[in-house]
C-alpha cells in the first residue's frame, strides 16, 4: 500500500506498436513505446492501480503504479580482468627511466 505523498514510479504506454513511427527497424516496430516517470502520489493506492502523481516539474501525470520509493539500480560494476593490468604495466614502463 502506498500513501498519498509517497515518492513513486508510474508506467504507461505512450504509443502501441501499431501507432508507432513507420521508420523503425523491425525489432522496434514490434514493441510499444513505454514510459516511466517518478513523482509524489496524490492519493493512497496499491501497486498495479492507475494513479496520479505530481512530478518534480509540478505536472500531474497518470499511470500504473509500479514502484514505491524507486531505487537507482545502476552501480560501479565488477572489477574487469581485461583492465586490471593496464595500470601496473604503464607504471612499470614509466619507472624504467
Amino acid at each position: 500500500m502506498a500513501k498519498r505523498g509517497d515518492w513513486v514510479k508510474v508506467h504507461s504506454i505512450v504509443l502501441k506498436a501499431e501507432e508507432r513511427s513507420s521508420h523503425l527497424p523491425e525489432d522496434t516496430k514490434k514493441v510499444p513505446l513505454e514510459m516511466w516517470i517518478n513523482g509524489f502520489l496524490t492519493e493512497d493506492a496499491k501497486l498495479g492501480e492507475n494513479v496520479e502523481i505530481t512530478t518534480l516539474s509540478g505536472r500531474m501525470v497518470k499511470g500504473t503504479l509500479v514502484e514505491v520509493n524507486p531505487r537507482y539500480t545502476h552501480d560501479f560494476g565488477e572489477p574487469i580482468p581485461e583492465l586490471l593490468r593496464i595500470g601496473p604495466n604503464l607504471k612499470r614502463i614509466l619507472e624504467e627511466d
Partner: protein, 468 residues
C-alpha cells in the same frame, strides 16, 4: 495521435524556441548561417558573462606529461607531440554541455518562459537541469533509457539520476525516435522553452570553449595549439569549438573530429540499444549529422561540422576504455569514458607529430556509478558482448566484441575521409530536396557548408545526379 502532433511540429517549435527561422532562409538549400548565429544568439563577450554568472567555463588546461612520455616510447625519434587536456568535468554538472545549457537557460529566463525541456540521454540533461536550478526555472528531461525488456543502459540511468538530483522531472522512454514526438507533446502542454541542442544558443555556448583553449595555450606556451581534438556526435562540439578558436585568432589550428566506431549498430534498434557501451560521441550520430545537419528537431541546425572539420577519425570502444584506465592510473584523473573519446585519438595522433607540437584534447566528463569502465563492461558482458584483451582495431566488432589493448602502441585511429562525408552530404541534399537543378546561390551555400570550392560542388552534384 502521433501524426497529429507531428503535423503541429513547426508551430510548436517556433513558439518553444522563439526563433523565426524563416528570416534566415535564402532559397531552397541555402540559408544565411552567419546571420542566424549573429542575430539569434549572443556575442562571445555576452556569453562569457552569462557563463561566469552560473559558474560555467574557465576550466583548467592540464598537461598530460606521463601520457606524453608513454606515447614517445612508441614514436619515431623526434616525434610525440605534447598532449594537453581541457578538464571540462570541472563545470558544475560535470561536462562541456554546461556551456550549451547555460545560454539556452539564460535565454529562456530572459524571455520569461517558466521552464525548459531537453530531449537527451546524454550529459546535456544534467547540464540543463543544473542551469535551470541556478536560474530558478522548472525543467523536464526526456531520455531514451530502456529496451523493451525494461533493461536500462547504465550510463543513461546515471544521467537520469543526476537530472533528478538537480531537481528535474525525468521522463524515461524505451528505444525509438518518437522521443521527439513525446517532447513536442510536452512542449505543447507546458509552454516551456525548447532547450534543443541544435539552436544557435546551444552552439554559441561552446564558442567559449574553443576561445579558452586558444587563449590559455597562448598564455602558457606563447602559441596556439597545432591540433585540437574534438569528440564528434551531433556536430555542436566541433562547430562551437572551431568557431571559438577562430574568434581567438587561432586560424592555423587544425580541428580533428573523433567518434567511437559503432558502425553496423542501428541507433533505433531495440536489440542493438543495449549492446553499445557508448551512448554518444559515436558514429551513429557523427556520420549522419555531418552529412545532413538539418535532420534535427529545429528547422536549421546551428551545428554544421563539415564547415569546420580538417580531419575525421574513429576509435574503438576498447581503445577508449584503455585510455580511460590510463588517464586514471598514470595521470590521476578519473573521468568518464565517453568524454575520453578524443583523448584516445590523441595517443595515436601525437605519434605522427613533432615533439615540440601541441595537441589539445578539449573535454573530459564526470564519472561515477553507471559511467565507469567497470560499470559499462560488466553490463556489456551481461548483454552477451565478448570483452577481451587484443588488437583493438582488428578484433573490434561493435555489439559483439570489445577488444581492449594492453599497450599505448596498440592504440590507433581509423581514418574516415572528409571527402567521403562530403560525397554523402551531396547525396543527402539531392535525396531531401529531390531536384536536379541548383542555383548559383544554393551552390555557393553548399560550398561554404562543406568547406570546399564552388567547382567541387558542381562536380559532386554532377556525379550524384548521374546516378540519381
Amino acid at each position: 495521435m502521433y501524426e497529429d502532433v507531428m503535423k503541429k511540429r513547426g508551430e510548436i517549435v517556433k513558439r518553444a524556441v522563439g526563433v523565426d527561422y524563416s528570416k534566415f532562409e535564402i532559397e531552397g538549400v541555402a540559408f544565411d548561417y552567419e546571420k542566424m548565429m549573429k542575430e539569434a544568439a549572443y556575442s562571445l563577450d555576452e556569453i562569457r558573462e552569462i557563463q561566469f554568472e552560473t559558474q560555467v567555463g574557465n576550466t583548467p588546461l592540464v598537461e598530460l606529461k606521463n601520457l606524453t612520455k608513454l606515447v614517445r616510447k612508441y614514436s619515431p625519434s623526434g616525434k610525440g607531440a605534447r598532449i594537453f587536456l581541457k578538464d571540462e568535468a570541472a563545470n558544475p554538472a560535470g561536462s562541456f554541455k554546461d556551456r550549451r545549457a547555460s545560454v539556452s537557460v539564460y535565454h529562456a529566463k530572459k524571455k520569461r518562459y517558466k521552464g525548459v525541456i531537453a530531449a537527451t540521454s546524454g550529459n546535456y540533461g544534467a547540464a540543463v537541469a543544473s542551469q535551470a536550478a541556478k536560474r530558478g526555472l522548472r525543467c523536464i528531461v526526456v531520455q531514451e533509457t530502456f529496451d523493451s525488456h525494461h533493461v536500462g543502459q547504465p550510463e543513461i540511468l546515471e544521467k537520469g539520476r543526476a537530472c533528478e538530483a538537480y531537481g528535474a522531472e525525468v521522463v524515461q522512454l524505451t528505444v525509438g525516435p518518437e522521443l521527439f514526438y513525446y517532447t513536442l507533446k510536452l512542449l505543447d502542454e507546458t509552454g516551456y522553452f525548447d532547450a534543443s541542442l541544435y539552436t544557435p544558443f546551444g552552439i554559441a555556448g561552446i564558442e567559449t570553449l574553443g576561445y579558452e583553449v586558444a587563449m590559455q595555450m597562448k598564455e602558457r606556451e606563447g602559441k596556439f595549439p597545432d591540433v585540437v581534438l574534438v569528440t564528434h556526435a551531433g556536430g555542436g562540439n566541433v562547430t562551437g569549438t572551431a568557431r571559438g578558436l577562430r574568434l581567438a585568432g587561432a586560424n592555423e589550428t587544425k580541428v580533428v573530429g573523433v567518434s567511437v566506431d559503432l558502425r553496423g549498430l542501428h541507433m533505433a534498434s531495440d536489440r542493438d540499444f543495449n549492446r553499445k557501451s557508448f551512448t554518444t560521441g559515436h558514429t551513429g550520430f557523427g556520420i549522419p549529422f555531418a552529412t545532413f545537419p538539418d535532420r534535427v528537431d529545429v528547422p536549421r541546425n546551428a551545428a554544421r561540422a563539415l564547415r569546420y572539420l580538417d580531419r575525421y577519425v574513429l576509435v574503438t570502444q576498447g581503445e577508449v576504455f584503455f585510455t580511460t584506465e590510463a588517464l586514471a592510473q598514470v595521470e590521476g584523473m578519473m573521468r568518464g569514458p565517453a568524454g575520453n573519446t578524443s583523448l584516445t585519438a590523441a595517443l595515436a595522433i601525437a605519434r605522427e607529430m613533432d615533439e615540440d607540437q601541441i595537441i589539445v584534447v578539449q573535454e573530459t566528463e564526470y564519472t561515477g556509478a553507471g559511467k565507469l569502465p567497470s560499470a559499462q563492461l560488466t553490463f556489456a558482458k551481461k548483454m552477451g558482448v565478448m570483452v577481451k584483451n587484443g588488437d583493438p582495431i582488428e578484433e573490434d566488432k561493435p555489439g559483439e566484441v570489445i577488444a581492449i589493448p594492453e599497450s599505448v602502441e596498440q592504440v590507433a585511429v581509423i581514418e574516415y575521409p572528409i571527402e567521403k562525408l562530403r560525397k554523402s552530404y551531396f547525396k543527402e541534399i539531392v535525396k531531401i530536396y529531390g531536384k536536379r537543378e541548383y542555383s548559383d546561390v544554393e551552390m555557393k551555400f553548399m560550398s561554404e557548408d562543406t568547406h570546399t570550392t564552388f567547382e567541387d560542388v558542381k562536380a559532386n552534384l554532377k556525379e550524384v545526379l548521374e546516378l540519381w
